[in-house]
Subunit: 351 residues, 2 copies
C-alpha cells in the first residue's frame, strides 16, 4: 500500500489498530491530542509527543533557530491545552546534522527555554543524536489535569454549539509569505502573519478555563486546519456538523494577504494549519455563560456552527445560503501539502 | 564552534547549562538516564526519550522493520531499568520517508508492540510526520519507581565495588558482522552476535531487584560502551575508578569474532555500545549478598573493579598488571563512530 493513498490519518489508524492499551492506568490511549493516564484520584497525567522535521515543518531559509525551538515546544503545549490541562515536564530529542554549528543548536535551545518558561514547562531531559540529513526535534510533554476534567474529542452531541478561540489562517498565510517573499503586502500584515507562523502561541489559559467549567463536550487544537479538526471531532463523537463560513473569524491582515494574491481567505482559515487556536463544543444552555466568562477573563471566542446527527454529514454553509460538504483536507503529511487556493466567493467576518 | 570538537557529551552539557529545573516536582532533571518526577509520596515518575535515526542507529540493509521497533522501545526501556524503575507508558513519533511502504511501517509497529508487550509498556499515543530523508523513530517513555528508590549515576563512593550484569561487546561485534557480511565466523557466533545487535534486551528485572535492595550507590545502562558509562558515573559521583580488563565478561562467540578479524575482544567490550547491560556500584559490605541474591533470582553478575578517589582517575588494569587510563571513547555521535580495534594483548573471562 502506498502512503499517499492512505494519508496521515489512515496511516495512524492502520498502524495503531492492534495496540492493546487495555490497562487500568490508561484512561485514554491513542486517538486524542494527548494520552490520559491515571496516577491518583485527584490528578490525571497527560502525555503527548510532537516531531518537527526540517524542510517539512520549517526551513532554515526563513526561520531562526530560536523559532524552531519555540514552535516545537508550542506544538506539544497546544496538545495539552486541547485536553484542558497544564503542561509540566518536557524531554527533548534533537537529531542534529553535523553541518550545523553549535550556535544554531544553542539558538534552538534558547527558543525551547523561552517557550518552556512562558508555559511553565520544565525541560528535564533529552537525547541528542546525529542526523545525516535534516534537523529533527521531538518534544515529549507531560501535563496534568484534575481527575475527571480532561476534555476529549469524542463528546460532541447534536445541538452542541461550535466555537473557535481566535482568527484562523494567519499561520498558513504567514507560511505563504515566508515561502514567497516577493508578495507585496503591507509591512504590518507581513510582520503579523509571519509571526503567527514562526512564533505561534498555545491557548493554555483558555483551555484550562474551559475544562474547569465542566461543560465542554469536545475540544481540539487547530494544528492541521479547522476542517480537519472538525472532521476529527465529528468522527470521534459519532456526529456531523454545520459551520457557517461567514462566521469563521478572519483577521483583516490575513484578508489583505489573500486579496493580494487573488485567493479567498476562507481557504487559509479552513484548511491552513498551525494556528494552535482551540475549537470546542458545548451544549447551548451553557454556551452564553461560557462565552461571557471566557471573554471577560481571557479573550473573545467565536460561534461558528453546531453539531448535528452523523447522517447529516460535515458541511459548511456558504454566504449564499446553501450547504456544501466541508472537505477533510488540510495539512496531510503524506497526501500533500496545504491545498491550493480555491475561489468560493464567500465573505468573512473581520476580527 | 564545530560539533566534532565539542562531541556529544560536551554538546549536551553546553545546550542544557542554562536550563532551570528548579521546580518542586523535579527530583532529578537533565543528567541521568531518565528524569525523576514527584507525583505522590509513594511513587516517583521516570521520564526518558530516545531517538533512532536511519543510517546512524540502524540500516535497512541489514535490519528488519520489526527489529527497528524492538530496538527503539528497548533503548528507552533500558533507561528506565538503569534508574531501577519499571516502564509503563510510551508515546512514539515516527518520521516517515514517503519512499517506504506501509508494510515497512507496519513491521516497525509490530516490533514496537512486541517489545512493549514484553516489558509491560502501553503505547498510548504518538505522532506520525513526513521525513524527506531518513526514517526517524522516537520513543518517549514514562516509568515509575517507589519514592526514594531511584538509583542515580551520582552516588558512587571510593571503596564501592563495580559490577556489570552480563557479557559485553556482543552488540558491537554483531554490528560489525552486519556491516561486514563476508567475515567468516561460525553460524552460531554470527547468529548470536547479530541478535545481540538487532534485538537487544533491557535489564528491567535486574534493575528492579537492585533498586529494591536500597544498597546500590550508582547505576547506568551500557548504551554507549562500558568505558563511556564508567566515565559518566565517575564524573557524576566526583570519583575515579579502577577496573581489571581481565574481569570484564566476554562471551566466547564474541571472542571468536574478534579473533577472526584479528582484533582484541576487550575493545568491543569496553568501547562498543548498545549492550544494554547494567553497570552498578555498591559498598563492599553489601556486595556479597547482592551478588548472591541477583544470581539466585535472575542471573550472574560480574565484579569488574572498584571506585577510587577522583584524584586517582579512571583507569584499567591490564592483564600484565599495570594501570593505564581508560579512555572515555565509545560511541559519540559527533566525534565519530566506534573506535578501530586496538591490540592490548589482554585476556578475558569467558561467560
Amino acid at each position: 500500500m502506498e502512503l499517499p493513498v492512505l494519508g496521515e490519518t489512515g496511516l495512524i489508524e492502520f498502524l495503531t489498530r492492534n495496540l492493546n492499551t487495555n490497562h487500568a492506568g490508561v484512561i485514554k490511549g491513542v486517538g486524542d491530542d494527548a494520552a490520559v493516564l491515571k496516577v491518583s484520584n485527584k490528578e490525571w497525567l497527560l502525555l503527548t509527543t510532537d516531531m518537527l522535521v526540517e524542510d517539512v515543518h520549517f526551513s532554515l531559509s526563513y526561520v531562526s533557530p530560536a523559532q524552531i525551538g519555540i514552535k516545537a515546544m508550542v506544538a506539544s503545549v497546544s496538545d495539552i491545552a486541547a485536553m484542558g490541562g497544564r503542561p509540566v515536564h518536557a524531554v527533548v530529542s534533537l537529531g542534529v546534522p553535523p553541518r550545523l554549528s553549535v550556535e544554531v543548536l544553542e539558538g534552538v535551545y534558547a527558543g525551547l527555554r523561552q517557550a518552556a518558561g512562558e508555559y511553565g514547562v520544565n525541560i528535564v531531559g533529552g537525547d541528542t543524536v546525529k542526523s545525516p540529513g535534516r534537523l529533527i526535534i521531538n518534544v515529549a510533554l507531560l501535563g496534568s489535569v484534575e481527575a475527571g476534567q480532561a476534555v476529549y474529542r469524542s463528546g460532541a452531541r447534536p445541538g452542541d454549539l461550535i466555537f473557535v478561540t481566535g482568527s484562523l489562517g494567519n499561520s498558513a498565510a504567514g507560511l505563504y509569505l515566508c515561502q514567497n517573499p516577493d508578495i507585496n503586502v503591507s509591512l504590518e500584515a507581513a510582520a503579523f502573519l509571519k509571526l503567527a507562523q514562526l512564533e505561534p502561541r498555545a491557548r493554555v489559559k483558555v483551555g484550562r478555563l474551559l475544562s474547569k467549567t465542566g461543560k465542554i463536550s469536545s475540544m481540539d487544537d487547530i494544528s492541521d486546519g479547522l476542517a480537519s479538526e472538525l472532521h476529527e471531532i465529528c468522527r470521534a463523537s459519532g456526529a456531523g456538523c454545520r459551520i457557517r463560513t461567514a462566521a469563521v473569524p478572519v483577521d483583516r491582515r490575513m484578508k489583505e494577504a489573500a486579496d493580494t494574491i487573488g485567493s479567498d481567505p476562507i481557504d487559509w482559515a479552513l484548511y491552513g494549519g498551525e494556528d494552535f487556536e482551540l475549537v470546542f463544543t458545548t451544549p447551548p444552555d451553557s454556551a452564553v455563560l461560557i462565552k461571557k466568562d471566557l471573554e471577560e477573563k481571557v479573550e473573545k471566542c467565536y460561534l461558528i456552527g453546531e453539531i448535528v446527527p452523523a447522517a447529516e454529514g460535515v458541511k459548511m454553509e456558504l454566504p449564499q445560503g446553501y450547504f456544501v460538504p466541508l472537505e477533510a483536507k488540510g495539512y496531510d503529511h503524506f497526501k500533500g501539502s496545504y491545498p491550493g487556493c480555491r475561489s468560493t466567493g464567500s465573505s468573512w467576518e473581520k476580527r
